[in-house]
């Protein structure tokens, strides 16, 4: 019978130790970036990749698309090099304008609280086992 009690107590301590593990691991640094401005994350295919101003969109006339080969196209030819770009340097990629909010379940405090409650329940259960055993022996 003592073996059972010892096993229950050992299990209790093991559970408490296991419960405190995630609490320590969840203690992420979470430090804010101190710099005044943060850079965006470049996105593949999101921009021109050169950092240079994008050319004015070219209205590319179709060649050979119709039967009238050699006829002047109805679409006026674009002159991208003649028109200055209004945005001096087109940024690359997509702006990274959002840091996900910290959810309550992600906080180390919540994990530590859960581990503490679990440990308390286990200790209470182990104590009940011991008291019941003693009462049975005396009775």
């Amino acid at each position: 019978m003592r073996t059972h009690v010892v096993a229950a107590v050992a299990l209790t301590f093991a559970a408490v130790l296991a419960g405190t593990g995630p609490a320590v691991a969840a203690g992420r640094s979470g430090s804010a970036q101190p710099s005044a401005v943060a850079s965006a994350t470049p996105t593949p295919g999101g921009g021109s990749g050169s950092g240079q101003p994008s050319a004015v969109p070219t209205a590319t006339p179709t060649q050979g698309g119709g039967s009238g080969a050699g006829e002047p196209s109805a679409v006026p030819s674009a002159t991208p090099s003649a028109m200055p770009t209004q945005v001096g340097a087109v940024p690359v990629g997509a702006p990274d304008t959002g840091v996900a909010p910290v959810a309550a379940g992600d906080s180390g405090d919540g994990t530590a609280l859960g581990a503490g409650l679990g440990g308390a329940v286990l200790l209470a259960g182990a104590g009940a086992v011991v008291l019941r055993r003693r009462a049975k022996v005396r009775g």
Binding site: Q33, T43, S54, M83, T85, G88, P95, R132
Partner: protein
């Protein structure tokens, strides 16, 4: 006695389960959406605004404040440049982080796309200035106050939610034939691993009136 030991074992299992929380799953990614008229073509005019004829351009002056009554925005505006990797800088990750105007773009009220960015959320600091940017609807007003005392009032043409991997660079930064405004933030679902947003929300607006 065996029953008591079994009870303790069950309690231990329950406690372990409560102490080990699972990571929240990200919501499924919705498709990109556009609200309002217009197209993604690079510098195609956004079409007639819901507010009527466009106003005339005004003198160059840097923006100092942004007001969007319909979504409760009233914030200072800082100046942003390019990062070393060619991406656009964004406002700091800090409490009450302001909006930022990309100084490589025209100032609001000048011909061209003026670009203003702000965060949707700011991590442990909570909500960002553009938390409700995606709620804007065509016709709603955006006012930019400039350093010289003038104000430029824009009307929303359309609101686009698009995957970051397909960011409409040319539609946002490409030439236009009138004063326009781009408001940009993050949105959509979040990445399962890092928790970052997968989409951008882009508001396209055009100048409807000015005041000095």
């Amino acid at each position: 006695m065996r029953a008591a030991a079994l009870t303790a074992t069950v309690l231990a299992s329950v406690a372990l389960t409560s102490a080990c929380g699972g990571a929240p799953a990200a919501a499924p990614a919705p498709p990109a959406a556009v609200i309002g008229a217009g197209s993604d073509s690079p510098s195609a005019p956004s079409g007639p605004t819901t507010a009527g004829a466009a106003a005339r351009p005004i003198a160059r002056s840097t923006p100092v404040r942004l007001v969007i009554p319909d979504i409760g925005v009233d914030t200072p505006v800082m100046s942003l440049g390019l990062a070393s990797d060619g991406t656009v800088q964004v406002p700091p990750i800090a409490a009450n982080a302001p909006a930022g105007w990309y100084r490589g773009s025209p100032t609001p009220g000048q011909t061209g796309p003026s670009v203003i960015l702000a965060h949707v959320t700011v991590g442990r600091y909570g909500d960002g200035v553009f938390l409700h940017l995606s709620r804007l609807r065509p016709g709603e007003r955006v006012t930019v106050r400039l350093q010289d005392g003038a104000s430029a009032v824009f009307a929303v043409d359309r609101v686009q939610t698009v995957a970051k991997a397909q960011f409409p660079t040319r539609a946002v930064y490409g030439n236009v034939d009138r004063p326009e405004l781009r408001l940009i933030t993050c949105g959509g679902p979040r990445d399962r691993a890092g928790g970052g947003y997968l989409d951008n929300v882009v508001v396209y607006a055009s100048l409807v009136s000015t005041a000095s």
